[in-house]
Symmetry: C2
Subunit: 340 residues, 2 copies
């Protein structure tokens, strides 16, 4: 890109000009009308989710390149679809932009978004670009799901095992490394890179779904409870318990964290990252013990049964080895831990 082009600002080409530049990221047969038209498969239900991200609140040039901001925004919305058991159909992107913003910043944002979306065959099917004093990104994602395979927060039942589809805490660790480079002294380059990538390029877990349906086939009437761990593992389990009117016991030593944590963080801090760090975008699923074991085995490293659903409404953190007393988890702890 020559320097004249890369220094171009939104005001130089206007919102309309920018929209035209962004059209190359969208399928030409879908855009260009008052609205986009999409086909859903026969017998599928429509699934819709939306997120708003604001510069300085949800992303920052300090820790996030525009490509990564785009990737993360797309991944977060796709993860909500995966957490419903749905496959993606498309997203719309609404942008509020200061007129001094560089056009190249917006193009890099779209580059990151489409890199993530292409991995899951998801088109950008529409959008809006408007003037705003602060860069704002509003994404709505829609997908489709077989009505018998909808994963709901409210479907957990007593006795269910709680499965996590991967390790927790990696994204928060990556963010800490970006904010405080001095923390990396006990890490190998590859370990540092892996944690930072977990923060910058999280992966929605659509890959879990076909494995889950395969395991469930003989019990296809079964409702699976679950959500994603975008706001932390503790939040996910508390939200599922609230919605299902049940409690849970988590086994402290079953909560899987990145291996790196073992020689890098004190165990208590590793646990806090895992429970409250957020943005790991794993799935937290509640299902009968046998099926849970089969799922964990198929998913491989990082996947684990971390606890079970109990009567009552309390979410307990338990230590089999009784070194730590039982601890009741609640949502405000996450905010305390990270001063949010």
């Amino acid at each position: 890109m020559n320097s004249e082009l890369s220094s171009q600002q939104v005001k130089d080409i206007g919102e309309q000009g920018l929209l035209e530049r962004l059209q190359r990221f969208c399928p030409p047969e879908i855009i260009g009308d008052d609205a986009a038209v999409l086909e859903t498969a026969l017998g599928q239900s429509l699934v819709v989710t939306t997120d708003v991200l604001v510069d300085g609140v949800h992303f920052s040039n300090l820790t996030t390149s525009p490509e990564d901001a785009g990737w993360r925004a797309a991944a977060a919305n796709l993860s909500d679809l995966a957490a419903m058991g749905a496959s993606p159909l498309g997203i719309t992107v609404g942008l509020g932009l200061p007129s001094e913003l560089r056009v190249s910043w917006v193009e890099r944002l779209y580059q990151g978004m489409t890199e993530c979306l292409q991995k899951y065959n998801t088109p950008i099917v529409g959008g809006d670009v408007v003037r705003s004093p602060v860069t704002t990104l509003a994404i709505t994602a829609f997908g489709q799901v077989n009505p018998s395979q909808i994963i709901r927060r409210s479907a957990a039942v007593i006795g269910n095992a709680i499965v996590v589809t991967g390790v927790h805490g990696a994204s928060h660790a990556g963010l800490e490394l970006l904010l405080h480079p001095e923390l990396e002294q006990n890490l190998k380059d590859a370990e540092r890179t892996a944690l930072i990538l977990a923060h910058q390029r999280p992966q929605p877990r659509f890959d879990v779904l076909p494995i889950l349906w395969k395991i469930l086939t003989p019990n296809s009437q079964l409702s699976i409870a679950g959500m994603d761990s975008s706001d932390g593992l503790a939040d996910a389990i508390i939200q599922i318990c609230r919605a299902s009117g049940v409690g849970a016991v988590l086994e402290r030593r079953q909560i899987s964290v990145p291996k790196t944590f073992n020689h890098w963080l004190p165990p208590e801090q590793a646990l806090k990252y895992a429970l409250y760090g957020g943005e790991d975008f794993e799935l937290v699923l509640c299902l009968p013990q046998e099926l849970a074991s089969a799922l964990v085995q198929h998913l491989g490293e990082g996947a684990a049964i971390v606890g079970s659903i109990t009567p009552g409404s309390t979410v307990l953190l338990h230590d089999e080895q009784k070194k730590f007393p039982d601890q009741v988890l609640n949502l405000s702890q996450g905010f305390q831990h990270f001063g949010q």
Copy 2:
């Protein structure tokens, strides 16, 4: 509402607390999961559109109450669905809010949105509330359409009549009256109120669709071209011509304006309001002459054939009485007229 409640700010209850307060505007069976699940009817295509509105750019406390801002935002998105021939399924609402904003302002915004939505049986099925230095409203609307009834901008053919479903210019006149109350001296109260209401409470024209399908039944293979006139009548016709690779001739005296304009505005200014004012949210449809005549007759007052589709790519404003020379319309004129 007591004064303690009405002075409550977003920071007093937090984004999560506000989301809980706003849930009463949403159907409880749909919200509360990672995403909303909706049913589409068999054989229908999904239609999606999105808009971002920013305080001080798209709405202002000077001319717009929060209820009206909410109504207008909902109406604009629904109108995009109507312009595709679709019926609405639901909307999502993403809000960026300064922490000092009053909670009552947000509730009044939702009140206005739901007043409009209820008229068209459309639920708010999801949303997001985040902190932002500037009040921002991102709406995504989705609907469904019979694939044979999709109205596209690109389907206009030479010889088609161009139909408007109602008068143009009323919304802009209403805005002018709000900004410059001195303009109302030649207007009766009822006339003033009607114009202001046209601005504050525009109506998406879903009512046109069943009439259109009824007229088309014997020719159901016919593709109808069209869009809404949200950015002005001139813009709509120019966009349709561009997308269809055709031109158009508009008859100056056929362009229907509110009757009030006749004794209130000089004819040239009335025409400018109609062509470039915008936000009337009428439908602009291109169809064979006979069907166009039947449609106008069924729609009644305000509906009119305003011109026809021609070869070439020029959009001409023509005067049958030859008092005015032919004039070529283009998009930049709208901006010139209103100094945007």
